[in-house]
Symmetry: C2
Subunit: 129 residues, 2 copies
């Protein structure tokens, strides 16, 4: 991870915060957690693993490792590389990748909503930082 | 962790499986995840950190580290040591510890129920092990 602690904290809290609840809930479903989900979203948006890595303040090597871990965990790859054409070198989500990301995000949002009240109560027991 | 991979897998999958859904969902709320929640439950049941550690196939040192991490993260300790009396040396959950465990377990169950359908769909995309 070629990123400063401060930068990472900012990215993480932004990603985990939702309009319906406070942060501090991490949902990891079928190997996909907040970091991999954000990486998939960034690849979807930028069409490039290196751009996605840069946007997250993550090294290219680390991003590749996460993509390879995802691709080998699922029946079909979630991320595929574009070959040929003038835009060679890019990457995109496969239909399975789109589906997995959609499922994860919906699962996360439903869980956050269902656990919102208890999470807030638990949060109030924590030492203030 | 002084335990074999097989033992740990068994404990983990038993803990994460619920009647309403398949495993492979990890909920980490306010620093409490499946491992710490299970440790708190075991301390609650056995009245002893060392017995709890043994029941989980975890080293005593590791169990203490987790208890100390929990105690320092919350405003009040979640686990306290019994002093004096004939049962000296035991430990128990404080009222805050009981409350935090209850909140975590309820939050986890509500999240599992809310995400059940999407988790199953995500699960079907995974490579069979």
């Amino acid at each position: 991870m070629a990123t400063s602690p401060k930068k990472r904290r900012t990215l993480r809290s932004r990603f985990e915060k939702t309009p319906s609840g406070p942060p501090r809930l991490r949902i990891i479903a079928a190997t996909i957690g907040p970091g991999k989900a954000q990486l998939l979203e960034q690849i979807q948006q930028t069409g490039s693993i290196s751009k996605a890595a840069r946007a997250m303040g993550m090294s290219y090597v680390r991003a590749w490792q996460l993509v390879e871990a995802l691709n080998s965990a699922f029946r079909e790859p979630l991320v595929a590389s574009d070959t040929g054409g003038t835009r060679g070198g890019g990457s995109h989500l496969t239909p399975t990748g789109e589906r997995a990301l959609t499922l994860y995000l919906r699962l996360r949002d439903h869980s956050l909503r269902a656990g919102h009240r208890d999470l807030q109560a638990l949060h109030r027991l924590l030492r203030a930082e």
